[in-house]
Symmetry: C2
Subunit: 341 residues, 2 copies
Amino acid sequence: MRRVNQSTRLKPVCIIGLGLIGGSMLRDLVAQGHTAYGYTHSRNGTRAAQRDGFDASNSLVDVLQRAQADDALIVIAVPFDAVAEILDAIQLHAPDCGITDVVSVKKPVYELVLARGMGERYVGGHPMAGTEHSGWVASKEGLFSHAAWVVTYDYALEVDRVPDCWSALFAQVCKLAAATGAEAVPVRVTPHDEAVARVSHLPHVLAESLALVGDKGGTLAQSLAAGSFKSATRVAGTDPALVRNMCETNAESLVRVLDEYVELLETARQDLSGPAPSMKQLSENGHRAYTRMNARSGARRESVSPIKISSRPVMRLHPGAPGWVQQLKQIESLGGRVEVF
Amino acid sequence: MRRVNQSTRLKPVCIIGLGLIGGSMLRDLVAQGHTAYGYTHSRNGTRAAQRDGFDASNSLVDVLQRAQADDALIVIAVPFDAVAEILDAIQLHAPDCGITDVVSVKKPVYELVLARGMGERYVGGHPMAGTEHSGWVASKEGLFSHAAWVVTYDYALEVDRVPDCWSALFAQVCKLAAATGAEAVPVRVTPHDEAVARVSHLPHVLAESLALVGDKGGTLAQSLAAGSFKSATRVAGTDPALVRNMCETNAESLVRVLDEYVELLETARQDLSGPAPSMKQLSENGHRAYTRMNARSGARRESVSPIKISSRPVMRLHPGAPGWVQQLKQIESLGGRVEVF
């Protein structure tokens, strides 16, 4: 069995798609001294990345052949609707490389992988970071600092014996996340898709809808809109095509949380109607929920120290060691992170 | 008639309530070299403001008597549920001072003013700025920079002839706004309350509700919540008592925009259900609305210059000059700002 230990270097990383996420990864990896290069279908994006001093190509075939020669880790960083095509190209031009991705839905990607018999070479990923901007020009170093980086492991639960190459790939993906300053959070694809429907895709639907209601207020509403409106609509600035990719691909989970949400608004409406309008319930319960959400999500600063510390419980584990997949299930149930050695 | 011109100094300003808004005003005014002092019912707040070098008192009667002696402009900066009591105290201890306020609903405050026969001494205000924090400790210089500062003028439309003292008071309130770096935006109380229901009170309801839906996702959702969730729930960190004051007092307008909003979500739900989920409509229309809202609201940077410029059309006018109230109506219809001279 091939041992993966703390001193294992990250393999060369080949990033397919150099938008906000892929581009920011490339910047971080190079800044940390790793070998990393990428492909983008956009000629402008390729030129911009090259001008910024990065190793970027506009030829998918060239980049994949190089990855195959390098035994690189391939990261698929394109919107969901382009994933199938990229997987097919990988089959053809980089048949031996390990693969991960950063797509914001995980079950549909995993299904594309399994349909191609590529499960043994794939560990899904999803860094929970971004902005409302897109493309290479929006990419930046440090985007993933202290972010959760979801790493999926369904394959390890589905096979009788986890192949060593898969354990090693899992370790590589965790190291990739760590190299960008993120925290590897093991989650299976279905709970992932349900959770991001709540905390990411629903917020996009709400932001788009609020932008529309605000805009209906005409120039006066435009002139008066300030902090609360701007925060709540920020992600409506995202490229609509990206929003569609996320939300449409995760529609089933999204509809379920949308129903939960509308039910809360209908209760609020009832409480606010009539002779004695009340926001007591919603404002007090909402504030408590806000406090709980902020206690856990992401890094926080200690009151007496400028150092950011993680608020996620950590488990150190060795991919491939006895019981390690059970450990992943445990840490998933706590929303915790893993450090691999 | 008493002339108010550009060179008129701001009168001393007496701020009743030194929370986030009142405290930040006090900081700005003093920093700009104006005479300003304040009252807060909180002993801790008083001590904290004094420690920071500001002229703050814990005695409402003392402060109002001083305002009367100074011929100060009084600013009511308390939550709505304390306004009636403050107006009564002003009647008693500062019977000749002009009054403005910074409460986020304007019709209910105006009704309290009229019920006490104080219309001639009152010009309503509402600076569109804030954070999710409250109290003196949250106050800071520059909070109102380039913000819209609503200035109401219903009284001028309701009387046969606008008294000179009212015109002078209107000018003072515009100068007060300008002294903090804000932009005076004339709006009547009813359109104000409708517009802020859309762009401020609705976002609070949405943030509280999203915090609850996120929290229902348990530790995993907590761990994965990132930018889009944090932006969209930020104002759920506001003190629930303040949220209740705003939303309950403006419930009628709020319920109307809540209905508009739920209708959009129900259309979204329909589009996302079924075999071919689509977010095309909502993401494209929402993105266009977002772009329009951002073109107008607040200051923006010119691409070639670091200077922030206002995106609101400006009208210069002289309060009391012939036709000036009609000018206010015109500029209100454009969501514009006034500069008084």
